[in-house]
């Protein structure tokens, strides 16, 4: 799709983003961090427990709505009153629970992994990021827990450190900072 001097045969497609679209830039950088980790850290295995929790809650909520729809279709209104009332209330309660889950449990986490090097107990990593509206500063946080130990490290950098004039994300630069965060988080003794 993209032709340029940098495009070699068989090279992976360069990751491009509209650099002025804040939310998309953050999501793209998050995806790139995941890519860098998954492709380079062989002892790390990605976990999806938080995302699965969110999916599970959403499926249950939609399930209630779907059930109400079908029931009301089969047994039209006044008969379906109790079912509709129950499903409606349950749906909105679940929506509320989902919102709480996203605010307090998932927060700004976009990546989880379990690091297993065979000899020590597993390290559970949690990477999160933040970027304020209309701001160019990308905050990346790496945290881990290992048994009773834990560590974390934060890095705040402008997105201009990773993205070219044309909107291409330079993975090599990002990898440097990902490595830095991992090393710093694990070297601090808590």
């Amino acid at each position: 799709m993209v032709e340029g001097e940098n495009q070699e045969k068989g090279a992976p497609e360069p990751i491009k983003v509209v650099k002025w679209d804040g939310p998309t830039v953050k999501n793209t950088l998050d995806d790139c961090v995941k890519k860098v980790i998954n492709e380079n850290y062989s002892t790390w295995k990605e976990r999806h427990t938080l995302a699965d929790g969110r999916l599970f809650l959403s499926v249950i909520a939609v399930g209630f709505a779907a059930f109400a729809l079908v029931y009301d279709y089969l047994y039209p209104f006044p008969l379906s009153k109790m079912v509709l009332a129950t499903c409606s209330i349950s749906y909105f309660v679940l929506m509320f629970v989902l919102q709480i889950y996203q605010w307090y449990v998932e927060k700004t986490t976009f990546y989880q992994a379990a690091e297993n090097d065979g000899k020590n107990p597993a390290r559970y990593w949690r990477w999160s990021s933040e970027m304020k509206r209309y701001d160019d500063k990308y905050t990346l946080v790496a945290e881990y827990t290992q048994g009773s130990r834990w560590g974390s490290m934060k890095l705040v950098k402008s997105i201009a450190s990773y993205i070219t004039e044309d909107g291409e994300v330079l993975l090599s630069l990002l990898k440097k900072d990902v490595d830095y965060l991992r090393d710093q988080a694990t070297s601090k003794r808590e």
């Binding site: 939310p23 999501n27 939609v62 209630f64 929506m95």
Partner: protein
Amino acid sequence: MGFLDYAIFDEIRRMNSRQVIYQFLNFAMIVSSALMIWKGLMVVTGSESPIVVVISGSIAFHRGDLLMLTMDRDDPIRAGDLTAFKIESRDIPIVHRVIKVHEKSGKDDSKFLTKGDDNMVDDRGLYAPGQHWLTPKDVVGRGKGFVPYVGMVTILMNDYPMLTYTVLGLLGLFVLIHRD
């Protein structure tokens, strides 16, 4: 250039299967929220169509007004009430005023006659052939309140179905390909 190669699809191309599933669930949740609000209103007001749009106006209600209906079978219908009723074989409810009520001992035995405020004659011409009175079974709800103009969107979507499909299609697409 393949269809998915356009820049606006960048995000969705890079999504893994979990994220794609979540996008569809997001869409489903938006639809479900609308559905649950509608069904919730049905339960709260007790009416099958808690909100209706006025299609042919009168002095009291203009075309495009949104009408809120409640349905309380225990509250007897009285002359002067604005009721929404359906004639057999017609889908669209009519909202007119009750001008005459005949009641016997049971509530379900009442009969009533309606007339539009602007009309010179009563509604007997609108009823089904052979029907001279309305019964509580024909009533869909009682007018409780209204919001002007808001219903014009529904009328437009009804008159120009292509508009509905295009708008909903675009909204759906937007929700599916954008995260958050």
